[in-house]
Amino acid sequence: MILAVAVLIAVGIALVRGGSLKRLADVPLQAGWIALVAFGLQVYLIYFPEPVNQGLSSPRVALLAISYLLLFILVARNRALPGMALVGAGLLANFSVMLLNGGYMPITPEALEQVGHTRKVMSMEPGARVMGSKDIVLPRAATLAWWLSDIFVVPPPFPLPTVFSFGDVLIALGAIRLIQTAMRAARPA
């Protein structure tokens, strides 16, 4: 949700800065449908999850990996657009740490408690899925490349308490740069 809010705030800021929503129509985005397919796959995986992570051999993990591979194709095809390099770096960061830790994004029990989302897990056992997300509970000591996992905690009273990763920051910055550049561009003559 926090990433959707970042995209919508970017649109709002561009409008305040004199940009136009109509300029988005001029963005030469190729194969944008790939993002919609990847998103659709993940909606299924996230809202019909396996309760405990079964590792890289799980068909659901394979499907999640396919959704990320689709996104890499999308970024490669649109690499010339401003901000896409940042999005690609963010995807790589998130996908790497997920692959290293059994296919899902690790989050520590402490981070879940700080943000008040402990009700979203059946247990705090290592490998338990966090409902409504791509996360699994994993203690810091058991997490490979911990610094790429969900470590940035924005606790309440922020209206959307959340925990996000370095990769999420890069993806948000890339999307914001693309929207700002596109909406504030001069219309082609």
Binding site: I2, Q42, S67, N94, G132, V163, G167
Partner: protein
């Protein structure tokens, strides 16, 4: 309803909606915070 029809039959606005939805889907599918599309993060 009339406004919606105007919006969906105008190619510029259809393209705007398509680009915005694709960017939103890319950010949501690529990112991995502890909330996906719900309202709890």
């Amino acid at each position: 309803m009339k406004n919606w029809n105007l919006l969906t039959t105008n190619p510029t606005w259809v393209r705007v909606i398509y680009v915005l939805l694709a960017l939103l889907a890319m950010a949501l599918a690529g990112g991995a915070p502890d909330g996906f599309g719900g309202f709890s993060g």
